[in-house]
């Protein structure tokens, strides 16, 4: 290489190294500046909090709400579950100020007009979905709120998740909160798939944070500690991208969801009982104020149904019945003639009498009491002055039981009263619901005990018991003397696995002997075959052993009449079925409106009882006839599907494909289908005219 080239190379090399050196010095200076700045910040720089909060990792504490446990019936059918409901609100002033500020070329006005046009289309959608206002009304409300600067407008009512998705797809709302103004507030609510069935028994919790007796109703309230679960805690922070994530450096406690409860209720029996009472009361709405029914499993004491229906006391024009007050456990009243069974049991157990023993009729007169008109009729019809204990029970004669009570317990009334405690009729035992009323039984040792109290107790007055006490007592008779404790909760479960078992328990192993129980069953069967229950229960689907009862309801200090002189009654029918091998015990009690006349236990309550018996027996094929191999088949009439009008295609939407195809082909049409599930769309449409042979296409979903 010659000298000139060498010089050039050296010069080029020098320039390059100078450039590189210059770049290096620049980096070095930057390093010193940055280092000095970092040291300065660390040493004592205090940034403005209004700005700094955007740069600090924003960790906030979030409480994790547990999912409330579900409630099931005995067969695992869902009675109560938690799902959120949503309330949509709208900020009508979104972008209003921005549009107002954009004055160049009228852009702001144009954008505002566009926004209002979308609001109009939104209004049409809202009107179509909520059906509470017209589209115009919605639009006027939105525009008025926008002009008045109102940032909160409630839209419609609470909606479920599916409806929320439909709302979110509407014009304007599909642009989000900051352009469309849509806001959503989620609220956890309890859903009850079976509507009003057993609502009072299932219950609710008004205010979870404040647990007192008035807030916690039914099973939801009593078992809130099981259903509620435990809250969790997590800390959240913002990432550099302004997204929220969990702060893994902080404490995290997961929420523990509530446990599930499997009740003893059978929702089909509940439905049967509910419908039975409603159908009987429906035509007698002027007479009946409320009614209750309890169906109990004989062997275990499990409550299969508990119905409590009452009218809206605030609105006398409302004829509907609502599950709002638990009569079955909270109404402690004089039971009337159904209590005679306790007197009869005591007499039989003590060996004082037999069913066929007879006593003098004495024209129905017991000193201290009004005469019994039933005995006058008996004496006149039978031309005799003696009556058997059985017949006295059949016709529910007050005279017979007062006579027997005084004859055998007059010297020692305490013995008869003690028997009642033995039958647990004087005890408020532990039960699965709050509000179980205390019964009242007078004591011969009390200063208020009078000479007529024994006679009153014998026929179900001067004592106060709840319908639950009564059905438990009768259940013990059905169970051959073994008194089972009524209960509503079978197990507590978590994700299908049993956590704890509640199950049956015994209140009293033997309130009477089997022989006494059998004797009482016979007597009660006579009531339904020949006595006061014959009219309603004589031809039920199975034999019933029961007792009617009619009693006036005491009105506190004013005796049996209210201030207007009106009397209120309670009519009861209680019994068990099938009488030979009892499976269920049931009580139906109805309460009359004041001043509407006597509500006899042998009328509406017995009618409702009969419907319940028939409904339960009909549902269970184990009660059906058995066709043996050598038997002849029973004759059956073929049922025919309701024929469609000739030449008009019937509506098969909602049916399964097998049913839809069967119906249409029966009418001569050809059927093709696509998809799976139930018929969603049919073509030609229902109601169209079409000749046989036409192809009907079904779309299943």
């Amino acid at each position: 290489m010659n000298m000139a080239e060498e010089k050039n190379t050296k010069k080029g090399g020098d320039r390059m190294s100078k450039i590189l050196y210059g770049f290096y010095v620049l980096c070095l200076l930057s390093f010193f500046v940055i280092a000095a700045r970092i040291i300065g910040i660390m040493a004592g720089y205090e940034p403005d909090n209004r700005i700094a909060r955007f740069f600090r990792p924003n960790s906030r504490r979030e409480v994790l709400v547990p999912t409330r446990g579900r409630i099931f019936d005995r067969n695992g059918r869902l009675l109560a579950a938690s799902t959120p409901m949503y309330q949509v609100t709208m900020d009508c002033t979104v972008l209003k100020d921005r549009f107002a500020a954009e004055t160049k070329d009228g852009k702001g006005k144009k954008d505002e007009a566009e926004w209002r046009e979308k609001a109009r289309r939104l209004s049409e959608g809202l009107s179509r979905i909520f059906k509470d206002k017209t589209a115009d009304e919605y639009y006027r409300q939105i525009i008025r709120n926008r002009e008045e600067g109102k940032m909160y407008m409630k839209v419609g009512h609470q909606i479920n998740y599916d409806t929320l998705q439909m709302i979110k797809a509407l014009p304007l709302f599909n642009e989000g909160q900051f352009k469309g103004g849509m806001r959503v507030e989620a609220k956890d609510t309890r859903q009850y798939p079976y509507g009003s069935l057993a609502r009072r028994t299932i219950g609710y919790v008004k205010d979870n944070s404040n647990s007192n007796g008035n807030n916690h109703i039914g099973l939801e309230g009593r078992y809130d500690y099981v259903l509620h679960g435990t809250e969790g805690v997590e800390y959240l922070r913002l990432t550099d991208n302004r997204q929220t994530i969990r702060d893994y450096d902080s404490t995290y406690t997961p929420a523990k969801d509530g446990d599930d409860i499997r009740t003893t209720l059978d929702i089909d029996i509940q439905d049967i009982a509910d419908n039975a009472i409603r159908s009987v009361v429906k035509d007698n709405y002027k007479k009946v104020e409320g009614a209750t029914c309890v169906v109990m499993d004989v062997e275990t004491g499990a409550i299969r149904a508990m119905v409590n229906l009452s009218r809206n006391a605030a609105d006398t024009s409302d004829h509907e019945l609502y599950e709002q007050f638990n009569y079955a456990i909270s109404t402690s009243g004089e039971p009337g003639s159904v209590f005679k069974t306790t007197t009869l049991m005591s007499l039989l157990e003590d060996g004082k009498i037999g069913l066929h023993d007879s006593i003098p009729t004495n024209h129905g007169h017991v000193p201290g009491f009004s005469d019994d008109a039933h005995i006058w009729d008996y004496e006149r019809e039978n031309h005799t002055n003696r009556i058997s204990v059985l017949h006295g029970y059949e016709i529910s004669s007050n005279y017979v039981f007062r006579y027997l009570a005084y004859r055998y317990y007059g010297e020692r009334p305490k013995k008869m009263i003690e028997k009642l405690y033995n039958y647990k009729l004087g005890e408020k035992y532990d039960f699965d619901l709050e509000g179980f009323s205390s019964p009242k039984i007078p004591s011969p040792e009390s200063p208020s005990w009078s000479g007529t109290d024994l006679g009153s107790v014998a026929i179900g007055y001067a004592v106060q018991v709840t319908p639950l006490h009564l059905v438990t007592f009768y259940n013990a008779i059905a169970n051959k003397g073994r008194m089972m404790k009524p209960y509503l909760v079978e197990t507590v479960e978590k994700d299908g696995k049993v956590v704890s078992k509640k199950g049956p328990s015994v209140l009293n192993g033997q309130i009477c002997s089997r022989a006494t129980a059998d004797t009482l069953t016979k007597a009660m069967m006579r009531v339904t075959e020949e006595g006061t229950g014959k009219r309603m229960l004589g031809s039920s689907l199975c034999t019933v052993a029961g007792k009617t009862g009619t009693a006036r309801i005491a009105q506190g200090g004013s005796g049996y009449s209210d201030k207007q002189g009106r009397i209120q009654y309670q009519g009861t029918f209680v019994g068990f079925f099938p009488a030979e091998a009892p499976k269920y015990t049931c009580i139906v009690t109805m309460y009359s409106r004041p001043g509407t006349g006597i509500l006899y236990g042998g009328t509406m309550p017995a009618m409702a009882f009969r419907k319940i018996v028939d409904g339960i027996i009909a549902m269970d094929s184990s009660n059906g006839k058995v066709i043996h191999r050598s038997s002849a088949m029973p004759s059956m009439t073929a049922g025919t599907a309701k024929p469609a009008q000739k030449g008009i295609i019937r509506d098969v939407r909602g049916l399964g494909v097998m049913d839809a195809v069967y119906l249409l082909e029966n009418e001569g049409y050809k059927v093709t289908y696509r998809g799976t599930g139930h018929v969603k769309v049919q073509s030609p449409q229902a109601g169209s005219k079409a000749a046989p042979g036409t192809t009907v296409t079904l779309t299943l979903e």
């Binding site: 799902t83 859903q191 069935l197 997204q243 994530i245 309701k642």
Partner: protein, 114 residues
């Protein structure tokens, strides 16, 4: 002592001079460990990068949690709707609406003895 200070002063001035000249690393014979220095920078970059990716994934997890929650809500609501159709009275009404003669039994079914 003065020599010590001069030594310290000398070291510092040498360091400063070599930094300005751009051959500091060479003077401390750091060129032998230059790949390790680069490796450390690479690790630091990787740690920051992975941290960012983790945060992105965690953000996705939170979004997926919301989607899962929505699916669970949807499932729960559908379950409630489905169960409500199983009510005896509701089935009876639906059958009547469809014009069916099938209804709730009014007597128990006969059983064939096997």
């Amino acid at each position: 002592m003065a020599e010590g200070r001069r030594g310290l002063k000398g070291i510092l001035s040498n360091v400063l001079r070599s930094i300005l000249q751009g051959n500091f690393l060479q003077r401390i014979h750091a060129d032998k460990v230059f790949p390790q220095i680069i490796y450390i920078f690479l690790l630091a970059w990787l740690a920051i990068f992975l941290n960012i990716q983790i945060e992105k994934t965690m953000a996705k997890v939170e979004k997926n949690k919301e989607k899962l929650e929505e699916t669970e809500i949807h499932h729960a609501q559908k379950t409630v709707e489905y169960v409500s159709l199983g009510r005896l009275s509701t089935v009876k009404e639906l059958l009547e609406e469809k014009g069916s003669e099938v209804g709730i039994p009014d007597k128990p079914a006969a059983r064939i003895d096997k």
